[in-house]
């Protein structure tokens, strides 16, 4: 049958594209990480600098998650539960970090807190360091992942409407109570979805962090930056070993994302 042949051809073409373009790079990471055996692999990922870099990456991602989840919930509440002028403009402004190059995301913080920045004299007086230090890394990570949670929540809360919240408010429920008992159960999977996407990007951010980091080994080096340093020193096995840690995290995130998305679709039905 012609239709069946076409179908199989299209499926094969799609599978081939994904295998070549997406899976092969992934296989490259694992193959190079293990090409000199498990001992060298284990040594590379338990290396003191690698562990410190992992800790910094987790710290930055953790703070980012708290900040952006807080923002996402408040922003989604304001945008979906009320009518006001400038709503479209507000949602567009929130999306700005998605459309800006990560290099520029890092640059703007240098322009504020760096040597030429307008906040520099203030920081000097207080003896605080922001760029080329940990706070700069955290700020840059927050910037690039800023819209993730609100983006996941807004369409979901819009489609759910606010009748139940209105009824609860009329019966005298307080704001926090309404959110906890009525809104939250409806949005928990959507919230988790946004949090997962935000985590993935925060753990892997490279460009923005690279600009503000200063690349001090053991101090301001995140895991992706550590991978870059090892790679540019031609220590390929070590670079890919550390990268494979990030790959494992990415695959776990991908699986979690699919489970949550499945739950989300079920909830909608």
């Amino acid at each position: 049958m012609r239709s069946k042949t076409l179908q199989i051809f299209l499926i094969l073409l799609g599978v081939l594209f994904v295998a070549l373009m997406l899976l092969l790079p992934l296989a490259t990471v694992l193959a190079y990480a293990l090409r000199q055996g498990w001992r060298i692999f284990a040594a590379a990922i338990t290396d003191n600098y690698a562990v410190k870099a992992l800790n910094l990456t987790l710290l930055a991602a953790g703070i980012t998650l708290v900040v952006n989840t807080t923002f996402g919930i408040f922003a989604a509440w304001a945008i979906t539960k009320f009518r006001f002028r400038g709503k479209q403009a507000l949602t567009t402004l929130i999306d700005i970090p998605f459309s800006i190059s990560p290099i520029i995301a890092g640059l703007v913080f240098i322009l504020i807190f760096g040597r030429i920045g307008w906040a520099y004299p203030l920081l000097e007086a207080w003896k605080v360091k922001i760029v080329f230090a940990v706070p700069g890394i955290v700020l840059a990570t927050i910037f690039v992942t800023f819209p993730f949670v609100s983006r996941a929540l807004i369409p979901l809360m819009q489609s759910q409407g606010s009748d139940e919240e209105e009824a609860a408010a009329l019966m005298g429920a307080k704001g926090l109570e309404i959110f906890r008992k009525i809104t939250f159960p409806h949005i928990k999977w959507g919230l988790l979805y946004g949090v997962i996407l935000c985590t993935a990007r925060a753990l892997g951010e490279f460009g923005a962090v690279s600009v503000v980091s200063g690349h001090l080994r053991g101090k301001t080096n995140t895991l992706p930056l550590h991978v870059e340093i090892l790679f540019s020193e031609f220590r390929l096995t070590a670079a890919f070993a550390v990268a494979s840690v990030l790959v494992v995290i990415a695959v776990i995130i991908l699986i979690l994302r699919n489970i949550v998305e499945y739950r989300l679709k079920k909830e909608e039905e």
Binding site: Q7, L22, F82, R85, L90, I96, P224, V247, A250, L254
Partner: protein, 283 residues
């Protein structure tokens, strides 16, 4: 005209509490984290004359970076539209073993850290890598050329196109295609005259998203690009180079060009999106 009304003020009567608090938190955080930092770009350029600005952004080497970034991103986005439509079609319309895995894998470029993708692609396509060595035999170099840049951009752009088209295809009722077939249209004719026009706005959105992301992308492109001026230096890389030379005004000037460009793309995407919403509502 009823005169200008202040923005971000509540309208209509609504009993739900928390408007002041949620709007306050939203605007404060948005200003502190996004708007004020972005405004610093203009603040820095204030002491910089237009002639100086223009000399940097229209410099021969800078112009070459725009050309390389835009052409590679354009080609990559075109490839992504073709394979994005194909993948979205296969995933939504056909049932086959491994369909859900294929669907999940599309998201890989979002989940994989860009630096990891960057070193993996560079090694894979270098003259010693699995694919690069094959091409090396016929004298084609991929890593450290614009071909490599384009491949990295295809990698990061593909999920944008698939995810833009998928929801539209899911909503598109196969009955239209059946009707077209009953009326005597061939398969190709049905696809090009019935399905494709419905997909066009979504495909364009996907194209724009992938294109914008590719132009701004750093991590997955920087390793495979190789940073050769006039040949493989992309715009984010020249900004990075100026920063490393502590030439902040020059870096900021080129950054401003990129910001204006991405705002234009964002504006275009929003226009397209409102058109798609109209189609989805069925008018």
């Amino acid at each position: 005209m009823s005169g200008l009304k202040a923005p971000f003020r509540r309208r209509g009567n609504n009993v739900i509490p928390g408007f002041g608090l949620s709007m306050g938190v939203t605007l404060t955080m948005l200003s502190l984290i996004v708007l004020i930092p972005l405004a610093s770009v203009l603040l820095v350029l204030r002491d910089y004359s237009f002639a100086e600005f223009w000399r940097v952004v229209a410099d021969k080497q800078t112009l070459a970076t725009y050309r390389i970034s835009l052409s590679c991103a354009g080609i990559a986005a075109c490839v992504n539209v073709v394979f994005g439509v194909l993948l979205a079609w296969v995933i939504t319309r056909y049932k086959f073993p491994g369909r859900r895995i294929l669907d999940g894998l599309i998201e890989l470029p979002f989940a994989l850290p860009t630096a990891v993708a960057g070193i993996a692609l560079t090694t894979l396509y270098s003259d010693k890598g699995w694919i690069g060595s094959l091409f090396d035999k016929i004298g084609v170099k991929i890593s450290y050329t614009t071909k490599g840049i384009t491949i990295a951009m295809i990698f990061i752009g593909i999920p944008f196109v698939v995810r833009s088209i998928q929801p539209v295809l899911e909503k598109l009722d196969p009955q239209y295609e059946e009707a077209a077939a009953v009326l005597g249209a061939g398969r190709a004719e049905t696809f090009f005259r019935v399905v494709l026009p419905e997909l066009l706005p979504a495909a364009l959105t996907g194209f724009a998203l992938a294109f914008a992301r590719s132009v701004g992308e750093y991590g997955s492109v920087v390793f495979i690009a190789g940073n050769i001026p006039y040949k493989t230096q992309i715009t984010p890389l020249i900004i990075m180079n100026k920063l490393e030379q502590f030439n902040y005004p020059a870096a900021t000037s080129i950054a401003l060009v990129m910001i204006v460009f991405s705002f234009l793309v964002l504006f275009g995407i929003n226009l397209l999106q409102s058109k798609i919403n109209k189609i989805a509502r069925g008018s």
